[in-house]
């Protein structure tokens, strides 16, 4: 740790805040202190979001002014930000024109990106046999086909076997794997919290 008094002050604040919230869970009489700390966290996060927006605009504005590469995208971003601000600021984010921008620009653009992603994933699955031909490739492609066919309904064709196999995969294999992931995430979260509480991990610097 650097020998700056400010760093020690930051560590003391972080440890005291974490300890206050943690103690509030065990002692209901200290729940007020915990709620106060959570309110401060909410306010700070909102301020950080505002700072992030300002930083984003400033970065792209600098790229435009300095005539850097791909400045056209920065120009589009500045234009969209300005337009949204002008539309939403006077009447709110759920006004008629704000919702028009959202439903006719934002949703179609992002949905199109996900649609293109579906086509690329399909093509990559087909090419996977040419790139890497081994047992794992066969297992992966077989699982994908089983999941697709398990959802599929074709008139006159009984695909209940695929559906049962898909349910078995989803409820046994997938759940078993996810349970392991969740246990690992939980243990990692506890370890990270303890490290911050004892000052071993200082994401705030120092």
């Amino acid at each position: 740790m650097k020998s700056y008094p400010f760093v020690y002050l930051l560590a003391a604040i972080a440890i005291a805040s974490g300890a206050a919230v943690l103690v509030g869970y065990f002692f209901p009489s200290l729940a007020g202190l915990k709620g106060e700390m959570l309110d401060w966290a909410v306010i700070f996060t909102a301020v950080l979001l505002l700072i992030g927006v300002i930083s984003l605009v400033r970065t792209h504005w600098r790229k435009i002014m300095q005539d850097q590469k791909d400045r056209a995208y920065s120009l589009v971003l500045i234009f969209s930000f300005t337009l949204t601000l002008l539309v939403a600021a006077p009447s709110g984010p759920t006004s008629k024109w704000s919702m028009w921008l959202y439903e006719n620009l934002l949703i179609p653009i992002e949905s199109s990106l996900l649609g293109i992603l579906a086509v690329f994933l399909l093509y990559a699955s087909a090419r996977l046999f040419n790139q890497r031909m081994n047992i794992y490739t066969l297992l992966f492609i077989g699982t994908v086909l089983l999941a697709l066919l398990g959802w599929l309904t074709i008139p006159g064709v009984d695909l209940e076997g695929f559906k049962d196999a898909r349910d078995w995969l989803s409820s046994v294999w997938a759940v078993a794997g996810v349970r392991g992931i969740l246990l690992g995430v939980g243990l990692g979260t506890v370890a990270t919290g303890l490290r911050i509480l004892i000052g071993a991990d200082r994401p705030y610097g120092g």
Binding site: A41, Y102, I154, L182
Partner: protein, 622 residues
């Protein structure tokens, strides 16, 4: 100019040299404590007599005595006149002290011999007394004279002359010697000088030769003979007898190998190691130069190292070579294949839209998680506050709008009061959007206006996990107003809500697993009897299912994707957006499965062909 003759090579050196400039042998003895070290190894006690003056041809010791004004008869060497008592003392030592002969063991003379031995010890004390006298010159000469020779003429005469007046008691002791030892008194009366005494001493030494080392005898005998002969002046240095000349270390240098005892006490007085004790002497065999060891100049490497070095050299050389760039293909086969895949999928999706509803068949068996969610919502009464968290991005609205709209349609039919909230920045607008979509599905119209509030949008929850926890514990404080800025908690339905458990139902709609898990972790401990239902995308459904399968359940119902929405609509007997999507969704699934099988099979065939032809797979594909 004084010269010193090297005892090893016989060549002349300067008197101030410590070592021979020809053979590197030491010319001057190392400084040794005369009491602890009786003589130098490889050097006779009288070897300092080999330092001659070129002018007079006399030993330096004699010159020193004369120059210092010692009392010596004119024209006669000082060593030729030893005192009588000292001569007798020497004879006693050489004949009776440490090597008693057969005559000494005679019973009649044993008491006398015992007295003589006592007197000898007294003489040793006398000698110590002489050493303590403050005569600097005499002390200097003593240092250069070995102690084991008790009959040094110069020493005896010098000490006797100086101390004769003051030491009268010594004369008394001498007379006692003469009375006890007849042999010694007779010898003293004869006054035949050093030769007679030496003859007697040589006789006694012959008997000692069996006990003392041979070199000690040679050194003592040779040096004594030489000194005696010079003292008498009868023989010059060049006229020594052959047997005596043979004893000189000049002709037969003695090289002692190894480390003799006493070297640890020696102190180097010359050269860069001056002052250091216990050094090895600069003997000729040490001074000899040795040929330097021959080391191979060629690097010894193994065969593996050599091969690796060659490979590394080839890599370095190939770096500098230009490689031809492959020709750029404007339209590659991959781009064509991607376009073909996109067109096939697009056709499969659009075909049902244009009345090609050949695959319109809905799934029959409703999953248990969907059935559970439907049963919970069916128990929601009118004006019951239901919290709905809209936690998905606009890009997933195609899938999640269909799933959530079916649930909202059911809630609107039940007449629930909807409270919308989101921890995603675009969530509040997404919430307004999904309410509008749900209004289009059924005959109900949920309105949020000043006069009529059937739902309320609390807007954005900032703070991430802490914000979620804060909202779950105290929603009034977290979001006091709705998204339009009006007070949110003055509505009669919202008056009795203090925490998240006061809601009748909580529904979380999300495509993100982290968001879904955050809501479970932060709100489940507070939800005592309030059910929690998830509306998720198909990709997140396996990640939420463990919470539904857990005991006790942390999630009481799941509606996943378009298929879940279709199942949910089937449970309440309504067809929503999902039923509109289902034909295109179903044909798209079939097209995707066919493309994977056909395209994958073709690429696998290409890979096998390439491997048979010896080419690397992956270079060319469909």
């Amino acid at each position: 100019m004084e010269i010193v003759i090297c005892p090893f090579c016989g060549k002349e050196n300067r008197a101030e040299d410590e070592t021979c400039q020809y053979c590197q042998a030491r010319l001057k003895p190392l400084r040794i404590d005369p009491e602890s070290q009786p003589g130098l190894i490889g050097q006779s006690p009288g070897e300092e007599s080999q330092v001659f003056s070129k002018k007079e041809g006399k030993p330096d010791s004699q010159d020193g005595l004369q120059a210092s004004g010692e009392v010596t008869p004119a024209g006669k060497p000082a060593v030729s006149e030893p005192s009588d008592w000292l001569t007798g003392f020497r004879n006693q030592i050489t004949t009776q002290d440490l090597t008693p002969g057969p005559e000494a063991l005679d019973d009649e003379r044993q008491p006398e011999a015992r007295d003589i031995r006592q007197d000898f010890e007294a003489g040793a004390m006398l000698d110590d007394a002489f050493r303590s006298l403050p005569f600097e010159n005499a002390r200097d000469n003593e240092e250069s004279y070995p102690e084991f020779l008790p009959d040094e003429p110069q020493k005896a005469e010098k000490v006797g002359d100086v101390a004769a007046d003051d030491l009268a008691w010594l004369r008394e002791l001498q007379s006692q010697y003469n009375e006890v030892d007849g042999l010694s008194s007779a010898a003293s009366k004869k006054d035949e000088g050093w030769l007679a005494a030496n003859e007697l001493s040589q006789d006694s030494q012959k008997r000692e030769d069996e006990r003392v080392p041979r070199w000690v005898g040679e050194i003592s005998a040779g040096s004594l003979d030489k000194q005696d002969s010079e003292a008498e002046g009868g023989l010059s240095a060049s006229e020594l007898p052959s047997w005596l000349d043979a004893t000189r270390p000049l002709a037969t240098p003695q090289i002692i190998f190894g480390m003799p005892s006493g070297y640890s006490d020696q102190v180097e007085i010359a050269g860069p190691l001056a002052g250091l004790p216990g050094l090895l002497p600069a003997e000729p065999e040490i001074a000899l130069g040795r040929k330097a060891a021959a080391y191979p100049t060629q690097l010894q490497v193994s065969e593996t190292n050599r091969i690796q070095a060659e490979i590394f050299d080839q890599v370095l050389q190939s770096e500098g070579q230009n490689r031809p760039l492959p020709d750029r293909v404007l339209v590659s086969s991959q781009k064509v294949m991607r376009m073909a895949f996109a067109l096939i999928i697009l056709f499969a999706i659009l075909a049902p839209v244009f009345s090609l509803q050949t695959l319109e068949r809905y799934p029959a068996i409703t999953p248990v998680e969907v059935l559970s969610a439907s049963q919970i919502i069916s128990r929601i009464g009118s004006e019951s506050p239901v919290l709905i968290a809209v936690e998905y991005e606009p890009g997933f609205s195609g899938e999640l709008d269909a799933a959530l709209a079916a649930v909202l349609d059911h809630l609107m039919i039940q007449g629930a009061f909807l409270v919308l909230v989101s921890s995603v920045p675009s969530g509040p607008m997404q919430a307004e959007h999904i309410v509008g979509v749900s209004n289009q599905v059924g005959p109900h119209q949920y309105i949020n206006s000043a006069s009529q509030k059937e739902y309320i949008n609390l807007g954005y929850i900032s703070g991430g996990l802490a914000g979620l926890r804060n909202f779950a514990e105290n929603p009034r404080l977290s979001n006091p107003s709705d998204i339009s800025g009006e007070p949110a908690w003055e509505n009669p339905v919202m008056v009795n809500i203090d925490d998240i458990n006061d809601f009748s139902l909580v529904i979380v709609a999300s495509e993100n697993h982290d968001k879904s898990r955050a809501w479970i972790e932060q709100t489940s401990p507070l939800l005592e009897d309030t059910p929690l239902i998830y509306v998720v995308s198909a990709q997140s459904e396996p990640l939420i299912r463990p919470f539904f399968d857990a005991t006790p359940q942390q999630v009481q119902g799941i509606v996943s994707g378009v298929i879940g929405s279709v199942h949910y609509g089937a449970t309440i007997g309504r067809q929503g957006i999902a039923h509109l999507y289902w034909p295109s969704f179903n044909s798209g699934l079939l097209a995707a499965a066919i493309l994977i099988v056909v395209g994958g099979g073709a690429n696998a065939l290409l890979a096998l062909t390439a491997s048979k032809n010896g080419r690397k797979p992956g270079g060319k594909s469909l």
